[in-house]
Symmetry: D2
């Protein structure tokens, strides 16, 4: 999966001269939507198919500021998947510098808010997610020792 590329816009800065912290949440969404598209399941199609994916929680660690015109690169990875919930991780970088680490947790629901289990509703997508998650586990296991998620 290719990282998502994003330039900081002028209107995203604040009077401190840096990108306002609320915008990172929007960039995470952009990167997530790009990630789903790379997976072959564009979010727009999923909503048309009656599957919504609201954010249940999120967390952001702001490491370094960034500002207008900075080129950001956002890597999304799957940290957990239960069939009804998906946990994503984000690394926002400016060149080699880590700007922000973040997480988001997503439910899958239908139009009226009833929980959808992805493995039943879209088995092929659930399988892809499962695969990517395992890959993450394998690749990241050593560094993650002692981290409680």
């Amino acid at each position: 999966m290719k990282p998502y590329q994003r330039k900081v816009q002028y209107y995203e800065t604040d009077m401190m001269g840096i990108a306002h912290h609320a915008n990172y949440i929007r960039w995470m969404e952009e990167a997530r939507i790009d990630f789903m598209e790379q997976l072959g399941y564009p979010y727009a199609d999923m909503e048309k198919g009656g599957i919504y994916s609201p954010v249940r929680s999120l967390a952001c660690d702001y490491r370094k500021p960034c500002t207008f015109n900075d080129e950001l690169s956002i890597t999304v990875s799957i940290s957990a998947f239960t069939g009804a919930r998906l946990m994503l991780r984000y690394e926002i970088k400016k060149g080699d510098e880590l700007i922000c680490e973040a997480r988001s947790e997503h439910a899958f629901v239908d139009k009226v808010g009833r929980v959808i289990r992805l493995p039943r509703a879209v088995p092929a997508l659930a399988q892809k997610i499962e695969l990517l998650r395992e890959h993450v586990d394998a690749a990241e296991a050593p560094e993650k020792k002692g981290e409680k998620e």
Copy 2:
């Protein structure tokens, strides 16, 4: 009608140290929604009743900058009404100082975008708007001489 009061938020400033110009468009919406509520026709109720009011055009003259924590006061008035189109005027002030003059033009449409004529759909609201518009004409006519709208 009472002017709409609004404080400039920190996240609305940009690296020039002033409120970013795109936010004024949002403040106009806030003031317009407050105006409709004062009229007795809250916008939320109108949408529930199947009447939508998309923006067809807008124009903004930025006279003075404003910044974080400034207390703004926004006056909305009706400059024209055709039954299917509504033209509003806005004066955004900080104390006595005129910050911005603006206009917006609105259609009335149903859920699928078909034009709704307000005098037929909500006669009482159309009448109120008509009344307020006439009032504007009477009060502002002298100053408006020579202005091309």
Copy 3:
């Protein structure tokens, strides 16, 4: 301290028909700025005095959606204070219903980003924060048993 009152704006909704999750981060800022003003230390004055308070991290648990015109009430409390770092907690409610629980962590720095210790820079404010924090500890201690922060 009075909770901060805030109506959800139309432009804060998204095509899911609810307030977009990124806006909550902005409401937290609004509530925080109101909190500082109630404390007698308006954020605008602090920045003029050369003290900036960037967000170091934040976390949001979205419990229930909210939408256009909902009246929200946001309670801010101090969960920790080290002199150089301040941790705040937020409860966003719609009537009695808890919409969102959130936290943010703030540093204090000068114009060029050097850490400021608040007890030295603004002792009276540090004392007020200390007092409010202790009050929180006393009031919330029983419920907090077993919570790891």
Copy 4:
């Protein structure tokens, strides 16, 4: 000059299911910044050089709605230039369909708000703008007959 390409983001939609009209103002800024970069005078560099370019006025005609994931293409052109003021025109298209026509007017000022005449401050840029404007006049003159700008 190449048109600026831009996808509509999920967070830019509202509960009407379309991109909220305030976002177009931001897209215009993005396109304008891209235009300046293509001209060889990145806006970030200009601000570092002490030249700011605040928006004095803008106008938008919304022709068709657009929504999440739509690919937009924004063409910027110079409609007038006086040395101290620059008038830009924007066409926002989705495929061949015209979504929005807009204009913005910009001043050039220094850090403290004093007017800068571009032909004196950055003669090479002023010349480029002049050239592009003349080109516009020549190309568009016939269609523009009778239009008062």
